[in-house]
């Protein structure tokens, strides 16, 4: 498992995850720069993502929807705030309607992704911050099925081991 560190900052409602990948920084950057690769890693197999708009420049937007097992669609967007190719990317991540208009009542998280070269591979640091516990709760309510299916997959893997 490439995850090397996880920090939960309860006061600042921030989750920081560090992962080491066995590929150079340029390769990891590609995952975000290429919409076809991004959709492969963004949504879980039960909720595959489809990236629609993809403008990875400050002020640009990335829009996507995820399709659930019953054909239900859930849309989201990134509003890109800073780009320093290939080492960092900052964006606000929010929910949208199916025409990709941001949902004003839904939470928005601030995200900073950083990629640095390390031992021939890449150390990736993902930081996500929410404004309030209520917002965090809302995000999890939206993603509860995703969380449940991941948990089940992990149990399955454990049983198979």
């Amino acid at each position: 498992m490439p995850v090397t560190d996880v920090r939960h900052d309860l006061d600042n409602l921030t989750l920081t995850i560090t992962a080491d990948f066995a590929a150079p920084v340029a390769r990891i950057w590609q995952l975000y720069a290429d919409p076809r690769q991004l959709e492969k890693v963004w949504g879980p197999p039960t909720y595959p993502a489809t990236v629609v708009e993809h403008d990875l420049r400050p002020g640009g937007r990335v829009t996507y929807f995820m399709t659930g097992p019953e054909g239900d669609k859930h849309a989201g967007y990134w509003l890109v705030t800073a780009v320093d190719e290939p080492s960092s990317l900052s964006f606000d991540d929010g929910f949208a309607d199916l025409d990709f208009n941001p949902s004003p009542t839904m939470p928005v998280s601030k995200n900073v992704y950083t990629f640095t070269a390390r031992d021939g591979g890449t150390r990736a640091t993902y930081v996500s911050t929410y404004e309030s516990a209520e917002q965090l709760q809302q995000v999890l309510d939206m993603g509860i099925v995703e969380g449940a299916s991941l948990a089940i997959n992990q149990i399955d893997e454990l049983l198979a081991a």
């Binding site: 490439p2 939960h8 989750l15 590929a23 890693v41 990736a124 709760q137 309510d141 099925v145 995703e146």
Partner: protein, 113 residues
């Protein structure tokens, strides 16, 4: 004991795996509502809303209190996960993404071989 917590998890995920029930939870966590006030918010019968409330109650996510002819519903904040466990859930979503990245870059190497 383990079986009991498994049953609890089943009830919990079943209860929240429905959009209307998640919406009901958001409302009753924000404040007490009568079942009839909740029913007025949805384009479905009173009986259908009552059924959703019963599922959430069974999962321990909300409590019902009778007041005269009204049934008052409140979200059980203690039953709803703490910020810590919420972050833990979000972590699982992230771990899923990272595992997929790892698989994708591993498949590059396979193709080169």
């Amino acid at each position: 004991m383990a079986e009991q917590s498994e049953d609890q998890a089943d009830a919990f995920f079943h209860a929240l795996a429905d959009r209307t029930r998640r919406d009901i939870m958001r409302r009753v966590l924000a404040g007490q509502h009568s079942v009839s006030a909740l029913a007025a918010k949805y384009d479905m019968s009173f009986a259908a809303v009552q059924k959703h409330v019963a599922v959430l109650e069974k999962a321990g996510l909300l409590t019902k209190l009778r007041s005269g002819r009204e049934q008052l519903v409140s979200g059980d904040v203690a039953a709803v996960r703490s910020v810590a466990s919420m972050l833990a859930e979000l972590e699982q979503v992230w771990r899923g993404r990272i595992a997929r990245i790892d698989e994708l870059i591993a498949s590059d190497t396979d193709q080169e071989d």
